[in-house]
């Protein structure tokens, strides 16, 4: 059924939350409420107005307000496209496609959420949803330094632990160091962040024999599974591709850590 579409969202607010990182709330049309369809861990494709930039920018969903038809995204200015987004003012329209991909599969019991750097935003929607469902939620946030963007916003939903590379706040080191230092244990681990962190999480989960769901990034062209641009290596032959490849946009971005080779 051809019932999905690219639609125009309205920027309801835009705020620079720290150097180079912006928070934006988008509102969707009544007849196509993307927020009403979204779950934590999914992403949206955001499109540039500038015609020299044709490919979508995949951005994770950070908060979901289905009744208000609103989604929040938190993004880092990484290049020309995100720079363009950061200049959008309240009331501006932006073409969006989504929600895309598969979100986290939320389990009951003890949840440890791990976010590193710009992988932190999607954990917020997840923390909130898990908390509402009665899970016991801890969040470990990995930062470079003492600039702890978004940290406060997690506090209503979770016990929050922090690691910083420079040791200025919390555990000096990475998120795994923080988990060990704080003796956190989990029934399920959920993680998003840079590849070295995800490798660490996968190894830690294997060591502890804990289920880990990790969210991957890859360069995308279509964002919906058609172009095979965004594959990651799958541990087994994948049932769609019939090779050791899974599509991050369609089969992910969230995978069971066991199912992918990082």
């Amino acid at each position: 059924m051809a019932d999905k579409k690219k639609c125009l969202a309205v920027v309801v607010s835009q705020e620079k939350i720290t150097e180079g990182i912006y928070s934006m709330w988008l509102q969707f049309p009544e007849d196509y409420n993307v927020a009403g369809m979204a779950v934590p861990g999914q992403f949206i494709s955001m499109y540039c107005g500038e015609g020299s930039r044709l490919l979508p920018r995949p951005i994770s969903i950070c908060e979901i307000e289905p009744a208000q038809r609103k989604l929040r995204v938190v993004y880092r200015v990484a290049g020309k496209g995100t720079e363009e987004f950061s200049g959008l003012e309240e009331g501006a329209q932006i073409p969006v496609m989504g929600p895309l991909g598969n979100g986290f599969t939320r389990k009951s019991g003890k949840a440890v959420l791990i976010g590193g750097g710009i992988g932190i935003p999607p954990m917020l929607a997840l923390a909130k949803a898990l908390k509402e469902e009665g899970a016991e939620v801890s969040v470990v946030l990995g930062y470079r330094d003492g600039d702890l963007f978004l940290k406060k916003e997690f506090e209503p939903y979770a016990d929050v632990y922090v690691s910083t590379e420079d040791g200025s706040v919390g555990t000096r080191g990475n998120v795994i160091d923080a988990i060990r230092e704080n003796g956190l244990d989990a029934d399920t681990i959920y993680a998003c962040g840079p590849m070295p962190m995800l490798r660490g999480v996968k190894a830690y989960a294997a060591e502890k024999e804990t289920e880990a769901q990790i969210s991957l990034e890859e360069r995308m062209a279509c964002g919906i599974g058609a172009c095979l641009g965004c594959v990651c290596n799958s541990t087994d032959v994948d049932s769609h591709s019939h090779v050791h490849n899974k599509r991050v946009c369609k089969d992910g971005p969230v995978f069971n850590a066991e199912d992918v080779t990082l």
Binding site: A2, S52, L54, P56, I224, G229, V231, H240, S241, N245
Partner: protein
């Protein structure tokens, strides 16, 4: 108003299809557009066995276009026959199967396997710049183009479209070679070989170093080649390369293409194919054109 065309003996309800590799086998974009609106769906290149493709990053953006080095990842002809053909058969659209291989034998294996399948046309990709063997190695050499075309024609049960590479000195030579080999139609252009360097990391943007350039940026090269080929051979031409709007498609049609394909534009606008069809209808209405054939090759010198 008539939009239907006869392309190499197959009637299409309209002259618009998808560019191979940009539309999978239709299932993903089928959630965004009604595939029955399309003249045909052209599927991603399929080989005799599953291919894993190239390492990532496989795609990157360029000014007004993109590079890809997917490297023809595909699930192989068996899965294609079992899963993708039946899926497409649910829709009222023609099926053009894009075929790839490393060697003539591999191409032939796929072509033979498709002989008893309910597909309408075969498009033979001898122009992919992203695989070491086969692909472009065939497509840049007129002799090899003629040979492989002839071999395929011997086995094929469906009309054969040879897909030409733009990375050549004279596209009319490979076009004529394909005609001499017995091709029923030609499609062009495949991607232009390009490169992007990430200056901050001092590395290639694509793991494969080079990739195939596509999107609006390449359109003038594509229109030129379609015009040249349409005037050099008698075969019908399926034109593509940068088509994003009906205006773009009409340029190809006026240059001599009897069908057009929409590729990279789908990534920016999932309904690009249907938008192009509706735009052509609109243009014909406004210009009081009864039959699309009045427009094919109508550009005046």
């Amino acid at each position: 108003m008539n939009l239907s065309v006869d392309f190499a003996g197959v009637t299409m309800k309209n002259p618009v299809t998808t560019a191979s590799g940009t539309f999978g086998s239709g299932a993903e974009y089928g959630e965004y557009v009604d595939l029955s609106r399309l003249g045909a769906v052209t599927t991603k290149g399929v080989a005799n066995v599953p291919w894993p493709g190239n390492p990532t990053p496989r795609v990157c953006e360029t000014y007004g276009g993109m590079l890809n080095a997917i490297g023809l990842q595909n699930p192989g002809i068996d899965v294609f026959v079992e899963r993708d053909i039946p899926y497409l058969k649910q829709y009222d659209t023609r099926i053009i199967v894009n075929v790839c291989g490393h060697t003539t034998e591999e191409y032939l294996e796929v072509v033979e396997r498709l002989a008893d399948q309910d597909v309408d046309l075969l498009e033979i990709n001898i122009s992919c710049p992203n695989v070491k063997e086969g692909g472009i190695a065939f497509g840049q050499n007129p002799k090899l183009v003629e040979q492989i075309t002839a071999e395929i024609k011997k086995k094929a049960k469906q009309p054969v479209i040879m897909k030409l590479s733009p990375n050549v000195t004279d596209i009319t030579e490979t076009a004529k070679a394909a005609e001499a080999g017995g091709a029923d139609a030609l499609s062009l252009i495949n991607t232009l070989t390009g490169m992007k360097i990430d200056i901050n990391r001092r590395r290639f943007a694509l793991a494969n170093q080079t990739g195939g350039m596509s999107g609006p940026a390449v359109k003038p090269v594509a229109v030129r080649m379609v015009y040249q080929v349409a005037h050099a051979v008698k075969l019908p031409v399926l034109g593509m390369g940068g088509i994003r709007t009906a205006e773009d498609a009409l340029e190809f049609i006026m240059a001599g293409a009897s069908m057009v394909a929409v590729g990279t534009a789908n990534f920016n606008n999932p309904t690009a194919t249907v938008d192009v069809i509706e735009g052509i209808e609109q243009f014909m209405k406004e210009h009081h054109i009864e039959d699309i054939h009045e427009l094919i090759g109508c550009v005046e010198a």
